[in-house]
């Protein structure tokens, strides 16, 4: 379990160009995925995850330029597999007292700067995207804001895609939010 560091990744596979049909398919998949999350359809979102999904957001440490990666290898804000995600999805959807999201936040996820690369595995692509999450709770006018770079491993399954791995590289060393009770 070594966190990929997007700032040092150099051995990328073949770039899937914007004009290729696959690129459009993948972008549409990412758009459909965030729509499910924005709509708070967690069960629907869970269906897009591979059984062996690895979902992480490493802790960030501000270091001197040129030093080792700012991303911790073991410590993470999100550190999940299908079991822990399922547990959380069950809690959010099947119980009445998951108070962190009851009432639910209003959320908007903006996904952009999508880059797609082939990997050593024929049916899997490395998909990078920038994400901006805006989350509004209660009647507060201030947003919870989170930005980061997502590096996904997207697997072609039965004509669709499943998320096999997602690493979110947050831009903040200290997250400016009270929790991550929502996914991005």
């Amino acid at each position: 379990m070594t966190a990929i560091d997007p700032t040092t990744q150099t051995d990328l596979g073949r770039r899937v160009r914007r004009h290729e049909p696959l690129y459009g398919e993948i972008v549409e998949h990412l758009e459909d995925e965030v729509q499910l999350l924005d709509d708070n359809d967690l069960m629907g979102w869970y269906q897009l995850l591979a059984e062996d999904v690895v979902y992480r957001a490493p802790v960030v440490v501000t270091r001197a330029k040129g030093e080792r990666s700012p991303y911790e290898t073991e410590m993470a804000h999100f550190d999940e597999n299908a079991m822990t995600i399922f547990l959380k999805v069950m809690r959010m959807t099947q119980t009445q007292s998951a108070w962190a999201e009851n009432p639910a936040s209003r959320t908007r996820r903006i996904v952009s700067n999508v880059r797609v690369f082939a990997t050593d595995v024929a049916d899997e692509h490395r998909v990078e995207s920038s994400i901006l999450l805006l989350r509004s709770r209660y009647d507060e006018s201030a947003y919870d804001l989170l930005s980061g770079r997502r590096v996904d491993r997207l697997r072609r399954v039965d004509g669709g895609f499943k998320l096999a791995e997602r690493t979110i590289y947050f831009d903040q060393a200290t997250l400016g939010v009270q929790n991550l009770a929502v996914y991005l």
């Binding site: 379990m1 957001a57 802790v59 440490v61 501000t62 270091r63 001197a64 030093e67 911790e72 290898t73 073991e74 410590m75 993470a76 804000h77 999100f78 550190d79 999940e80 597999n81 079991m83 822990t84 547990l87 959380k88 069950m90 809690r91 099947q94 119980t95 009445q96 007292s97 998951a98 108070w99 962190a100 999201e101 709770r137 060393a173 200290t174 997250l175 400016g176 939010v177 009270q178 929790n179 991550l180 009770a181």
Partner: protein, 467 residues
């Protein structure tokens, strides 16, 4: 000059003529809500409480080699925590003694000296002033000796590998500060000869709430687990008898000077059923511990455990282990089992600090903790389960971090600030016959007693008589 100016042995009078004895009503066990956001009170807390109490900064494994450092906070004061050449650890104020620039700008790294980027004054990691550039211009003058120009040093000590600091030269030693609580905390974090380690730098995130919202809760709020965390019961994680069963919360709480620890009764356990159906009385303690090792341990560690503890505490490991606690004022810890869907038992272990960032905001530092001896598989499992339950995304703590800001916001109103935090569910000290451990003991459901003792300890600091 360190804390001397701040050591005030009288009770301060607030701007409106009130004193802390007015705000903390001992007869009715009520606290004025204004303590959660009053800027005047917050300033006094930084001086009278955070500069004096021992608070946690890091684990020593975060800085294993000479020159390794991390930046952390004592109250709102940023300190450089360094491993010195001789292996000792120092913590010095990260404020250049020249013109107060942030001396070290990196949160972690390795350095044998820190040179200020602003004007170039240089210091050793232990704070000693080495000199200023361009000696012939006498940049640091001759009015102050070089000894006087060193960085302000905190007193540093470690327990369970965790690095603590205080700026108060009058504070007792860390060992005396923790006092009798060590008897219990050793059962969470001192179980093996090799001790505990952390999985790296802590999670850090921001909660728009006063730090005491977390601290008073971690001082023993058992009641909230039944309501705020009701989803655990709905998911049947707390109760083995179905979702409607009210958990008995059998156990025992202990407090001392505002410190807290909660022991959970495994015989009436709502967390583990691995021992269900076994006649425990037929097994000796070591056998029981091998059958179901304490959370976060493997069978291989039991010999070490048995050698390190006397029979009374070994018995407690098998029947009533400590699993959650707080060291006054802002250092929480959890050492809990987690029942996995496949029937096995995993664990979540964490140390955390509620670091104040102003009256209405604190930062939560959350470390994941494992035994240094933990095999990779256990280490990975605890990494996952700790993140899943507590910290930024943990499905237990997310409900807390959404609630604490509400209390703080409530305290801002003209009416709200005069409302009360109430601690009137009184149990009184109940020490079981022959109880082997120290401290003030509350058998059974501890109600509000240990939380109230948090406020009594707080009152001591705020009125200038912590020791």
């Amino acid at each position: 000059m360190a804390i001397d100016d701040l050591v005030i042995t009288t009770s301060p009078v607030l701007n409106d003529g009130k004193t802390f004895d007015d705000l903390i009503d001992v007869a009715y066990r009520e606290v004025d809500l204004r303590v959660l956001s009053d800027p005047e009170i917050y300033r006094l807390e930084l001086d009278r409480l955070f500069a004096r109490a021992w608070t946690v900064l890091a684990h020593e494994d975060e800085i294993p080699n000479p020159g390794d450092f991390v930046l952390r906070y004592v109250g709102q004061d940023e300190v450089i925590v360094s491993r010195n050449a001789d292996g000792t650890i120092s913590a010095v104020l990260n404020v250049c003694t020249h013109r107060a620039a942030k001396l070290c700008r990196f949160e972690a790294g390795n350095a044998n000296r820190f040179t200020c980027a602003y004007h170039g004054w240089a210091f050793r990691p232990d704070g000693k002033f080495l000199g200023s550039p361009i000696p012939r211009e006498k940049m640091h003058g001759e009015l102050r000796s070089k000894d006087e120009l060193g960085l302000l040093q905190a007193r540093v000590d470690t327990s369970w590998g965790m690095v603590f600091a205080t700026f108060d030269p009058e504070a007792p030693t860390l060992r005396d500060y923790i006092g009798p609580m060590a008897w219990y905390w050793d059962m969470m974090f001192g179980r093996t000869s090799n001790g505990i380690t952390v999985l790296g730098a802590p999670q850090r995130f921001t909660i728009r709430a006063n730090w005491k919202c977390a601290a008073e809760q971690f001082a023993g709020d058992i009641f909230h687990t039944l309501n705020l965390h009701k989803s655990m019961q709905e998911l049947e994680l707390l109760s083995t008898d179905g979702p409607v069963q009210e958990p008995a919360m059998a156990g025992l709480s202990v407090s001392h000077n505002g410190h807290f620890v909660r022991l959970f009764d495994l015989a009436e356990d709502h967390y583990i059923n691995a021992l269900k159906g076994r006649n425990l009385k037929d097994l000796d303690t070591a056998e029981r511990l091998r059958l179901q090792p304490p959370p976060g341990m493997t069978v291989d560690m039991i010999d070490d455990l048995v050698a390190r503890f006397e029979p009374a505490r070994l018995e407690l490991f098998a029947e009533k282990p400590p699993q959650v606690g707080q060291l006054f004022p802002n250092v929480g810890a959890l050492a809990m089992p987690f029942p996995m869907p496949d029937g096995s038992v995993s664990a979540f272990f964490t140390w955390r600090a509620w670091v104040p960032k102003g009256p209405e905001e604190f930062e939560l530092f959350s470390w994941t903790v494992v035994e240094r001896d933990a095999p990779q598989e256990l280490r990975d499992q605890m990494r996952l389960m700790t993140a899943a339950t507590f910290g930024t995304s943990g499905f237990v703590e997310v409900d807390d971090t959404d609630t604490w800001p509400m209390q703080t916001k409530a305290s801002l109103g003209a009416m709200g600030r005069h409302q009360k935090l109430r601690y009137q569910a009184i149990r009184g000290e109940v020490k079981p016959d022959g109880w082997p451990g120290p401290g003030q003991v509350y058998d059974g459901f501890a109600r509000d007693d240990t939380q109230w003792e948090f406020w009594l300890a707080y009152l001591k600091y705020m009125t200038g008589r912590p020791w």
